[in-house]
């Protein structure tokens, strides 16, 4: 099964379980959780089911295309089921079967792994799903987001698409994954990986300033903008610019520009923005619409 048909299979599977298929957020993020379809939708009482692919950027994991398992940018398939249905674990296992994984021939386990994002003021209880010793998904029951207690509880399923593709295709390097018939992952992404790594590790000269200082400056500007947008009650733009700050923080962190001392302060500032966004969303009309499930499960 190619990388793209894996995405198609998962999309088809979750669409048939009542999920609206969304598109990736067009802002740099570290995880699918940051997409408003997760971060905002898990707040408030409205029921919701959604699935989408989200490219996730982790600057510190950039390896110049030389490491077969670590990537500056990988792809997550994200599913939100709100509220979490009683058979959510079985649904997840069925989705693996739909992708051609026979669970009877492997060792599939749910091992404790609680998830926490200090920058989003969010945490949940759950597992990493282990497939023959490899983590292929993160499974979380959201308990809090943007500093707010959640009810009802959402289940978040995050599939590591590259990992699953490697298992299905039995390849040892991510770059050997067949993306489309005759097209390798390397053909699609390798140059991107190399160049992004060079960038985030500061192998670029910016006339007149130092790399770190330049990005700090960007951070401050986006922080200012996010604050202003929040004040104006523009929730989506405010969230997007909060995410810009989060991404810049990740870049600064990966090129060792932030002392550990400063880290906490950076994280706190981003979290305060995220909490502000969540509060404004819940207080406004957006979240208080009828909890009647618009798209109840079809299965």
């Amino acid at each position: 099964m190619t990388f793209q048909s894996l995405i198609l299979k998962l999309s088809e599977f979750w669409a048939s379980r009542g999920c609206a298929l969304q598109q990736p957020l067009d802002v740099e993020v570290g995880a699918g959780t940051m997409h408003p379809e997760t971060f905002l939708r898990v707040l408030g009482p409205a029921h919701w089911r959604v699935a989408y692919v989200q490219p996730a950027r982790r600057p510190a994991d950039g390896r110049f295309g030389e490491n077969p398992n670590r990537l500056f940018k990988h792809h997550q398939f994200q599913v939100i089921l709100k509220p979490a249905p009683d058979d959510v674990q079985q649904m997840y296992l069925d989705s693996l079967e739909a992708c051609g994984i026979n669970p009877r021939q492997h060792d599939i386990r749910f091992e404790e792994d609680n998830w926490e994002s200090p920058t989003l003021g969010a945490w949940g209880i759950g597992w990493q799903v282990m497939f023959d010793g490899m983590e292929i998904s993160q499974f979380t029951y959201f308990q809090q987001a943007g500093g707010l207690e959640l009810a009802p509880i959402s289940a978040e399923l995050t599939y590591g698409l590259e990992r699953i593709a490697m298992v299905l295709q039995r390849v040892d390097s991510v770059y050997d994954i067949e993306w489309a018939p005759g097209v390798k992952y390397a053909d699609v992404r390798l140059r991107d990986e190399i160049e992004q790594s060079k960038y985030v590790f500061g192998q670029v000269e910016i006339p007149g300033v130092e790399f770190g200082a330049f990005h700090r400056d960007l951070f401050e500007k986006y922080y200012l903008l996010a604050t202003a947008l929040l004040k104006a009650g523009l929730i989506w733009p405010a969230l997007e610019h909060t995410l810009k700050c989060s991404h810049l923080f990740n870049i600064l962190d990966s090129c060792n520009s932030i002392g550990v001392t400063e880290r906490t302060a950076f994280i706190l500032r981003i979290r305060q923005l995220a909490i502000g966004v969540a509060k404004t969303y819940v207080e406004g009309d957006a979240a208080t619409s009828d909890p009647a499930p618009a798209i109840e499960g079809a299965s």
Partner: protein
């Protein structure tokens, strides 16, 4: 009639680390609730668990609740009857509430006067009618290290039911019949796919395996025996012990096939074999290998990758060195052994490749060059960075080595050097990736840089000891030439942390100890209890404080607080080493010297049971009481001439010989000899108290006798306070 109670709470996978505790807890909770509901179990409470179930079975519980008889108090008699003798509205109202006439009420005498009362007898209900409440209250009673909301609630007025993981089914049988009960779901979550969890007569087997039918389907059962048998047919081994033994057997067999054995590291340093039975319902073992080139990585990195990250067992050869192989415990039948092993190998290889990347990258920068980077790593907001800490403990470790451990100047220098580099690995990629390797990794890098044994081993082991057991610190053989430098660095690091944080006002509370100061203080006393020092604890503490160079102090009472804290930890250490609280109390005065406190208490404990020692405790208590308000004004020799009774001169003579002997033996720390001398005094002291009256009218004689006893007290106290045990024996 069959009176078996069987309860299985079917959950989504519970964390392995919780299972041992939860299994005990659910048994205790159900037992407590049965008793509270007047259904005391008539046979032992048995408990079982797998990641997906918590099970309680009791062969016999009563058929009916015990009858209840209680006295309900009404209004005072004085307010119950009008002058004409007819009941007041208060009395009539009370009687009506109880459903009887006023005439049927009793009179009850209380300290507050006479009251009307009704003796209510309630016949016990049938067990099956009470069991729903038992389950309800048991569900509320369970405590989890971290509980979650899952849109569930109980109809007991207490709202949401938090739990460790969502509950998906409940098997609840009494005498083979279902006890009805259900967990409701909150209004906010209810849909056709979020439903109440009702009890039933079914369980579920392994998610993917079965010997008949479809895997994962509901299995109907009527009794525990059937339950256990059907689970086994469906690939769930209910008994933890059986899972453990199956794992241990298969590990050994597979290791032998690899011409090796399971690495001893697993047994010595981790509880892996204790943990894996709680990760699986039907364990098997598969073997995998990795490229021999990874054996060039330090052993610590290999085992951490395998054990901590993958829960895999490393394999070693006859000579004790690691082989390029591992054993994985899986939760399925090994029909597809090769496929599963191949995938596991792929993960291990990926992780080792990462580790090798860090190993090669980290060694390009020497530890010394990383100290500047520590300047950005905050130790504590009031106490500065790790760079400052490194500089403080460099000086402190050197001082401890020379001034407390009597090391030569060269060794002290090496201790200082080790302390300076001890935290440098916090700035390496390897420790960022594997935080549990802090210290160890610094030691490994120092070794690779060619630092002498005294330095790299001191870094390697400086976080130890962590526990209170005698074998928690590294052994002499492990330390080799680094015994002194290790003790100096380990003490310096911990003392610096304790003193700094106490002074900064971060004293831990009963429930909060975010800087793990309790563990640090435990480490300090543990090192000191195994090392000969020439300085007291207070001198070490004061020296550590000097390192902060007069930084502003948030808690001016820090010094006495630190002493109290260390004292407590020392008492705890001695108790954990097997000495009773009373025995530990006898040497509490000597807390400043943990090693001698330990040696003294050893001796006290040995003599403790002897009759002499028991009388010594009693007599010594009398000595202490009688001399409580007395201060000798002249030396004993000047007083001796005033003594004439045979019993008192006999004691004085005995003391003239034994007191110097006690002092002499103490000087040589020959505590056994001290004890023998003290015990020899029991008989003369006993005779003294029998025959001699101390508090006589003659002030000169009284003073002489009190001076004699004071001398005796002083001499015995210089070893221990035997009266501390007397209180204990009460």
């Amino acid at each position: 009639m069959d009176r078996e109670l069987l309860l299985e709470i079917g959950c989504e996978e519970l964390p392995a680390g919780w299972l041992p505790g939860l299994t005990n807890q659910i048994g205790e909770t159900v037992d407590v609730q049965l008793r509270a509901h007047r259904l005391p179990p008539e046979s032992p409470v048995e408990t079982y668990s797998t990641p997906r179930r918590l099970t309680v079975r009791i062969v016999r519980i009563p058929e009916r609740q015990n009858d209840l008889e209680e006295l309900v108090t009404g209004p005072p008699v004085s307010a119950s009857f009008k002058p004409d003798g007819t009941p007041t509205p208060a009395a009539a109202g009370f009687a009506a509430k109880q459903g009887v006439d006023v005439g049927a009420l009793e009179r009850l005498q209380t300290p507050k006067g006479e009251y009307l009362a009704f003796r209510r007898r309630q016949r016990g209900k049938a067990t099956v009618d009470v069991l729903p409440e038992v389950l309800r209250d048991s569900l509320r009673g369970l405590q989890f290290p971290k509980a979650m909301h899952w849109d569930a609630m109980l109809e007991d007025g207490k709202g949401d039911l938090l739990f460790g993981r969502p509950i998906r089914w409940i098997l609840y049988l009494y005498g083979g019949r279902v006890v009805p009960f259900s967990i409701a779901r909150t209004a906010a979550a209810q849909t056709s796919q979020v439903q109440d969890v009702a009890t039933g007569a079914v369980t579920y087997g392994h998610r993917f395996l079965t010997t008949s039918g479809r895997a994962g389907r509901a299995i109907k059962v009527r009794s525990f025996d059937e339950y256990r048998a059907r689970l086994l047919e469906n690939f769930v081994i209910l008994e933890r012990e059986e899972r453990h033994d199956k794992i241990a057997r298969e590990l050994d067999a597979k290791a032998q096939r690899l011409q090796g054995r399971v690495s001893r590291t697993v047994n010595h340093e981790t509880g892996l074999l204790l943990e894996v039975p709680d990760l699986v319902e039907y364990p098997s073992v598969v073997a995998g290998t990795f490229g021999v080139e990874f054996l060039e990585l330090p052993e610590e990195v290999l085992t951490t990758t395998l054990i901590h990250h993958q829960h895999y067992f490393p394999v070693e050869g006859e000579d004790g060195t690691l082989k390029n192989a591992f054993l994985a415990v899986i939760n399925t039948e090994p029909d597809n052994e090769r496929t599963i092993a191949r995938n596991a190998e792929r993960v291990v290889t990926a992780r080792l490749r990462d580790a090798r990347f860090f190993w090669e990258a980290d060694r390009k920068i020497p530890l010394e060059a990383r100290i500047d980077r520590l300047g950005t790593l905050l130790f504590h907001k009031k106490l500065g960075s790790y760079k400052e800490k490194a500089e403080r403990i460099e000086r402190l470790a050197e001082w401890i080595a020379s001034d407390a451990l009597s090391a030569d100047a060269a060794t002290a220098k090496l201790a200082g050097q080790a302390a300076r580099l001890a935290k440098a690995d916090l700035a390496t990629d390897m420790v960022r990736e594997f935080p549990e390797l802090q210290g160890v990794m610094g030691g490994v890098y120092a070794r690779a840089e060619g630092q002498p044994e005294e330095v790299w081993k001191a870094i390697y082991y400086h976080y130890l000891p962590i526990g209170v057991e005698a074998d928690a610190p590294p052994t002499k053989a492990q330390l080799g030439k680094a015994a002194v430098t290790w003790a100096a660095v380990s003490l310096a690091d911990k003392l610096d942390t304790i003193v700094g944080l106490f002074a900064a006002g971060e004293k831990p509370t009963g429930s909060r100890d975010p800087y793990a100061l309790r563990r640090a203080a435990q480490g300090v006393v543990s090192v000191l209890a195994g090392t000969t020092t020439i300085t007291s604890v207070s001198a070490l503490v004061d020296q550590a404080y000097q390192g902060y160079g007069g930084k502003e102090v948030a808690n001016p009472a820090w010094r006495s607080a630190v002493f109290e804290f260390i004292k407590e930890r020392e008492a705890y250490l001695l108790e954990r080493r097997g000495y009773e609280a009373g025995e530990v109390q006898t040497v509490a005065e000597f807390w400043e010297w943990p090693l001698t406190a330990l040696r003294r208490v050893e001796v006290v404990s040995k003599y403790r049971a002897s009759t002499e020692f028991k009388s010594l405790g009693q007599l010594f208590k009398r000595v202490k009481n009688i001399t409580k308000d007395f201060q000798p004004t002249a030396p004993l020799v000047e007083m001796c001439s005033r003594l004439s009774e045979p019993a008192e001169t006999a004691l004085a003579d005995e003391m003239a010989r034994r007191v110097p002997a006690i002092a002499n033996a103490l000087g040589q720390e020959a505590f056994g000899d001290v004890m023998r001398e003290i015990v020899a005094l029991v008989q003369p002291v006993d005779r003294f108290f029998t025959e001699v009256m101390v508090m006589v009218d003659d002030p000169h004689l009284r003073e002489a006798r009190l001076t004699l006893l004071c001398k005796l007290k002083e001499s015995i106290l210089s070893f221990a306070d035997p009266s501390a045990i007397v209180q204990d024996d009460k």
